[in-house]
């Protein structure tokens, strides 16, 4: 853990050397989800509601997913750009160090400009919460926090899976963006508006449903009994990281250096 913080501070200082570029990029990152959010707002303005969901309920969902996405893009960027590490053979160096590979790859890169994206989603979150008639309890706040955390773990898990593929393919795979970018796009609406196969896939295989649907029901008081189960459902999303890490370890054992 101490090592992780060290990595963080070193990379933060190095990115801060290019201050203008950092702020411009952060600003750009602020506007990307803003345009998506504007689209969502205009759609609600025209249609009024989305299968029984109001604008602010969906906005809450949007904010949670985008917060999770920006956090995991910031901290798990190392896995996202892992293909360069494999292709250049630099991964060999990580293997000989007496620390876990996961930690070192995580520490190889952070993308702090995602703060812009995070800020945008925090604003949406606050706006949504201020307009929703929810009587907040401690448990609900905890659930909200867990939702974000769970989302971070799911996105990170997908990044790790995509990185693991690089052990075999050497290059990065664009297909992975179906589950990262596509997953984000999908999960910004409540899962229940989608078709059965999408719902099943994103509940049991990649558990986005544990972030953007089940706990949301609890927060909005739409559950019928067994509240606690709904409240802690984001924990299932966190578990998603375990098989990902196992597959990663399997991949590391099969790693053959490119030798360059």
């Amino acid at each position: 853990m101490r090592l992780f913080v060290r990595y963080l501070s070193i990379l933060f200082r190095s990115q801060m050397q290019y201050r203008t570029s950092f702020w411009l990029l952060s600003l750009g990152q602020f506007f990307i989800p803003l345009s998506v959010f504007a689209g969502l707002y205009f759609l609600f303005e025209r249609f009024g509601q989305l299968q029984g969901w109001t604008f602010f309920e969906v906005a809450l969902c949007f904010a949670v997913i985008h917060m999770a996405f920006s956090l995991s893009e910031c901290f798990a960027r190392g896995f996202d750009s892992f293909s360069t590490l494999v292709a250049s053979g630099d991964f060999d160096r990580l293997l000989v160090r007496p620390r876990s590979t996961v930690l070192q790859v995580l520490g190889s890169k952070f993308e702090f400009t995602r703060i812009g994206r995070l800020l945008q989603s925090v604003i949406v979150l606050v706006w949504a919460c201020a307009n929703l008639a929810v009587d907040w309890s401690l448990l609900k706040l905890m659930t909200l926090l867990l939702m974000v955390l769970s989302g971070v773990f799911i996105f990170t898990g997908i990044f790790i899976l995509a990185a693991t593929m690089c052990f075999w393919t050497i290059q990065g795979l664009e297909v992975a963006s179906i589950f990262t970018d596509g997953g984000r796009e999908m999960a910004q609406y409540p899962l229940h508006i989608y078709e059965g196969w999408v719902r099943r896939f994103f509940t049991f295989i990649i558990p986005f449903g544990c972030v953007n649907y089940l706990p949301l029901l609890f927060i909005l008081d739409r559950t019928e009994g067994r509240d606690l189960l709904y409240a802690i459902s984001p924990l299932a999303g966190i578990l998603f990281i375990i098989p990902c890490l196992l597959i990663w370890r399997f991949g590391v054992r099969h790693y053959r250096s490119t030798g360059s």
Partner: protein
């Protein structure tokens, strides 16, 4: 003279066709995106009175599939760092030595890249989308004239788009760092082109802004011609507007390029 641009175009075009695996991955991603978007719109339309909406659901579905299929025709920036690097590393000096007009040279290059990657991607998506069950299927254009008008307006739209994107490259002569300003320009431009939501679904005040800008002519206009949402006569006059925009943008672009080149400082190294 024309021949050198032609051969550059061919070279780039063939080069782009080599990246088939990447294209396949792109197709899969776009296909998934299309499905997700359609489900979202379906959910929106499920409870709404479809007749009161400016576009019907099948028209939206068609719009989305065309958007996915011709994505490289409508994205303002198409993953081309090569030209940026030319400028920032100073290798632009070699380009300037060539006995060709830099604007036309780059224009041909960018056009070829977009065409080749769209050719690889569009047919699998369109064919797949064609055979999907209702309500996901791509509906064919109402008649042959709509199809012809669509092809014409799509190609003109592509030319307009490339001439808009030329301004991004020219701006790098001044800023030297493409990322920040580029990102903002992209986000706004693509929104105004109807990439996030179709233009007819936008509120009226925004539509009034959209119609006076060139962005919507690249994507929104051809797609709605295809689905018959824009009628025959309106389409013809629209194509005229596209032509006028194209001429203005190219003239302005050439002017801006010449201005930029008179003050260009070649970066050493």
């Amino acid at each position: 003279m024309m021949r050198s641009y032609g051969s550059l175009f061919r070279l780039r075009f063939n080069n782009g066709l080599q990246y088939r695996t990447a294209a396949l991955a792109g197709v899969a991603t776009q296909f998934f995106w299309g499905m997700i978007l359609i489900m979202v719109y379906r959910a929106f339309y499920a409870m709404a009175d479809g007749a009161s909406m400016p576009m019907s659901l099948p028209q939206i579905v068609t719009y989305i599939w065309l958007q996915q299929a011709f994505l490289t025709f409508i994205m303002l920036w198409h993953r081309d760092n090569e030209l940026f690097q030319l400028i920032t590393t100073g290798n632009i000096a070699y380009e300037l030595c060539r006995p060709t007009d830099l604007y036309t040279f780059w224009y041909a290059k960018l056009l070829a890249q977009r065409l080749s990657s769209a050719l690889l991607r569009c047919s699998p998506i369109l064919i797949f989308a064609w055979f999907l069950p209702s309500p996901y299927e791509l509906s064919p254009p109402p008649d042959l004239s709509a199809l012809i008008l669509f092809v014409v307006s799509l190609l003109l739209g592509l030319l307009v788009l490339v001439s808009i994107s030329m301004f991004i490259y020219i701006s790098v002569f001044y800023t030297m760092s493409p990322v920040g300003s580029l990102l903002m320009f992209n986000v706004v431009g693509e929104f105004l082109a109807g990439m996030v939501i179709p233009v007819p679904l936008m509120p009226d005040w925004l539509q009034r802004i959209v119609v006076v800008l060139p962005f919507r002519w690249t994507a929104d206009f051809p797609f709605r011609v295809f689905s018959g949402h824009i009628g025959y006569h309106e389409a013809l006059s629209g194509i005229m507007v596209q032509l006028v925009w194209l001429i203005c943008l190219i003239l302005l672009g050439k002017l801006a390029m010449r201005r930029a080149l008179t003050r260009v400082v070649v970066q050493g190294g």
